[in-house]
């Protein structure tokens, strides 16, 4: 065992920090640090900046334009970006779908899809869940029937994050209705294709990131099939595993905890800082303790991964990471008191628009909206109850 941080990794951290200081525009950082869903324009702009630096895909191998960084360096990079307030990059393209594309897709599809992700020009939506297939994803009913060089798709997807702004949808469809998992295929679908209707789902933070997507005789070229027909379940599982691997969201939680500290040191009660109110700091300390535990469980997951992990790290991290983001949000809303009750509605996609917000300190907008949206953290990516069953069955043999 060796717990020393490699000096080269520490130098790398400084390099990232310097880069951020120089290249992250303050307006992006300001919007990135608040709790609203990131603005697509900001994400594009920032992804382009990273791409130009050669850091477009920290988690991809060099041959596909990635950095080839170790897991630890990726972790350092993500952490520095989060703490600096950089906009979240496209988790869908970079982490969930990209690796599945370069692992399973044919050469043509790779060439067509990967560069756009790198440059921030191809954003992904995830067309997996359906009204009748949530935690039980394999129960999906959206049909794709082959008709010459095309599939004809009919069905109804739900919880499609960013379907209203994305450039491509990773769609799970039934190509063999007789089979369950083995009848599922994976199509890459242009959301502008005729027959597709996107209906916004407003979340309880009064923000719009989720959608329903209806497919009415949508024709998708067979060349947009990922890998082989009826093998989509394999790819989907890989996508979900990729989602869970980062699901502790340690960088995000660090940013949120830093924000909570900031708020607790600036909000006051009769002149006394909220952080100095009796009982507040120990609760903050408990969150710090739990974040550190999660951070080092993540580091173990990253370094043990190459060794062939036995522990179901993804599930462990998903459960506690999602709980932590909710608990941090809860204390932040409490620290804000009345400003934690005010409705600061999402400002929308135009970065220059001035929203008509209620009064309050700069750090108030977005906090409660995010707190509300994060109720979904223990649900999305496989509800925590499902993760516990996975842990109990797969590892504990119950």
């Amino acid at each position: 065992m060796d717990f020393k941080l490699d000096p080269a990794d520490e130098a790398f951290r400084q390099e990232v920090r310097a880069f951020l200081k120089e290249n992250l525009p303050p307006d992006l950082a300001r919007r990135g640090a608040c709790g609203f869903h990131p603005i697509r324009a900001d994400q594009r702009r920032w992804q382009r900046t990273l791409f130009e630096r050669g850091w477009g895909a920290p988690n991809w191998p060099v041959e596909y334009g990635g950095t080839g960084w170790s897991h630890l360096r990726q972790f350092i990079f993500d952490e520095e970006c989060a703490l600096a307030g950089a906009p979240a990059t496209d988790n869908g393209g970079l982490r969930m779908f990209g690796p599945v594309i370069y692992t399973y897709a044919g050469a043509e599809l790779k060439a067509r899809l990967l560069p756009g992700i790198l440059k921030g020009e191809l954003y992904w939506g995830q067309g997996f869940s359906e009204p009748g297939a949530g935690s039980d994803l394999a129960a999906l009913a959206t049909r794709a029937v082959r008709d010459g060089d095309e599939y004809v798709v009919n069905g109804h997807k739900i919880w499609t994050t960013g379907a209203h702004t994305c450039d491509i949808i990773g769609l799970l469809v039934k190509t063999n209705p007789e089979a369950k998992q083995r009848g599922i295929s994976f199509l890459c679908v242009d959301p502008a294709t005729p027959g597709i209707t996107v209906r916004p789902i407003i979340d309880i933070g009064e923000a719009h990131s989720l959608n329903e997507v209806f497919f009415d005789n949508v024709r998708v070229p067979v060349s947009n099939l990922l890998g082989e027909e009826n093998k989509g379940w394999t790819y989907a599982k890989a996508v979900l595993e990729n989602e869970r691997a980062t699901s502790a969201e340690v960088p995000l939680n660090k940013r949120k905890l830093a924000q909570l500290r900031h708020i607790a040191m600036h909000e006051r009660s009769d002149g006394c800082r909220v952080i100095d109110l009796p009982g507040f700091a120990p609760r903050l300390a408990q969150l710090e303790v739990d974040l550190r535990a999660l951070e080092w469980l993540t580091l173990r997951a990253l370094t043990e991964k190459s060794e062939g992990a036995v522990l179901p790290y993804g599930s462990l991290l998903k459960v506690r990471g999602s709980e932590l983001v909710q608990r941090i949000g809860e204390l932040t809303v409490e620290a804000l008191e009345q400003y934690g009750s005010y409705l600061y509605a999402e400002p929308g996609e135009d970065p220059d628009a001035k929203p008509d917000w209620p009064p309050g300190p700069d750090y108030a907008p977005g906090v409660v909206a995010d707190f509300m949206y994060r109720r979904a953290a223990t649900i999305y990516g496989g509800a925590n109850e499902v993760q516990r069953t996975i842990i109990a069955r797969s590892f504990l043999g119950l």
Binding site: G134, D203, E206, S269, G271, L277, V333, L336, Y373, I379
Partner: protein
């Protein structure tokens, strides 16, 4: 001790339930938030049905009820997430006025009962955080027995539709002294008063009120100069209980909505209610609900006790109801899955209501800390017996 409702109380509850389910369901008032959570015709109906009068004494135009009647109504409002400013005007402001000035109460409360007067309590300030005596708004002597008011009030519930404000201001003392707080009743459109209406995330409305040199005279006084604290405490005590009763209604309905969903929603080929982990979660929700209901009863029983015991009971209730409410409503969302976080489905709104509840009249943590102070200060023997 008798936890049964009287016939009159049962009638009140049943009629409220019938009316609200018919007229004020969540679906029906989707546009209410945009209109400031207020509908003049609806308010007139509230008055007509005697709800505004239910917990006020007869010499003030009321029906002679008390906190029990207010709590019954609030519980029904909670079930349906009613956004109308009943609590701010009909409980908090009305009860404060009642305690502040008997003459003015006899003069003004009949108008309130009739729906013709809508006072709001402009007392809370940015740095109050549950402390009733926190008042920094200044009443500066302006000669001839007049004062000018300077300060900022926040979370003035129902302030967006108020025609009067009961303003607390300091005529003497420091920012957290009980002595020296004076109450004034002023017109909503008096010169020097500015209002900004704020929608809360639970779709109720409040206002921020800025007082910049508002001129008041002794005619505007509620009660004696410097003696406003007792009336504020009286109003807050009743307001807190009413709020907790509302929360019980919120929790109960959230629980049953969730139960019904589990019985119909299928995953993995079976309805969700067959999963033991979810059954047990719901059992916990019921336990929390019923403990909270018990806390409301206890707080009502302790209203007649001496100040220290009363305040302790109120803190116990607010802390417990806040904790339970958050758990129950968060689990309501969790057990629904994705649909639970959508604005168009009901369950998430129950959680939003409980989130705002925590930011009203002191959080659970604030009240725990109040109790902790008592633990350190009081002799154990005295506590063990109450």
């Amino acid at each position: 001790m008798d936890f049964r409702l009287t016939d009159e109380q049962e009638m009140l509850r049943d009629s409220a339930r019938r009316f609200l389910e018919k007229e004020c369901s969540l679906e029906q008032r989707l546009h209410a938030p945009v209109n400031g959570g207020f509908d003049a015709a609806r308010w007139a109906q509230f008055a007509e049905m005697g709800w505004l009068a239910a917990s006020l004494p007869e010499d003030c135009g009321g029906l002679g009820g008390d906190i029990v009647e207010a709590a019954l109504l609030m519980e029904e409002f909670g079930r349906n997430l009613v956004v109308d400013p009943f609590w701010g005007i009909g409980v908090l402001a009305a009860q404060t006025l009642l305690a502040a000035d008997a003459d003015k109460a006899r003069e003004l409360l009949p108008l309130l009962c009739a729906g013709e007067l809508r006072p709001a309590l402009a007392h809370h300030e940015v740095q109050s955080r549950g402390v009733i005596e926190h008042v920094t708004t200044q009443a500066r002597p302006a000669g001839d027995g007049a004062w000018t008011l300077h300060g900022e009030k926040t979370l003035v519930m129902g302030g967006n539709v108020a025609d009067r404000f009961i303003v607390s201001a300091r005529t003497s003392g420091g920012s957290r002294d009980r002595q020296g707080i004076t109450l004034f009743l002023i017109d909503a459109n008096v010169p020097g008063l500015q209002r900004r209406d704020v929608r809360l995330i639970d779709n109720r409305w409040s206002a921020e009120v800025t007082l910049d040199g508002v001129r008041v005279t002794s005619a505007d006084l509620l009660g004696a100069v410097g003696e406003g604290w007792a009336a504020l405490e009286y109003g807050h005590a009743r307001g807190l209980i009413a709020l907790c009763a509302e929360a019980v209604g919120v929790m109960e309905r959230a629980m049953w909505i969730t139960r019904d969903y589990l019985r119909t929603r299928k995953q993995f080929g079976v309805t969700l209610n067959t999963f033991q982990a979810l059954q047990h979660r719901m059992a916990e929700m019921l336990i929390e609900l019923e403990l909270s209901r018990s806390m409301v009863y206890r707080a009502m029983a302790y209203l007649v006790r001496p100040l220290a015991a009363r305040q302790a009971a109120l803190s116990v209730a607010k802390a417990r109801v806040g904790q339970s409410g958050r758990f129950v409503c968060a689990q309501g969302i969790q057990l629904h899955g994705g649909i639970g976080v959508t604005e168009e489905y009901s369950i998430g709104h129950y959680f939003k209501r409980m989130t705002v509840f925590e930011n009203e009249l002191g959080s659970a943590q604030f009240h725990l800390e109040q109790l902790a102070l008592r633990e350190c200060a009081e002799p154990a023997a005295a506590r063990a017996q109450n």
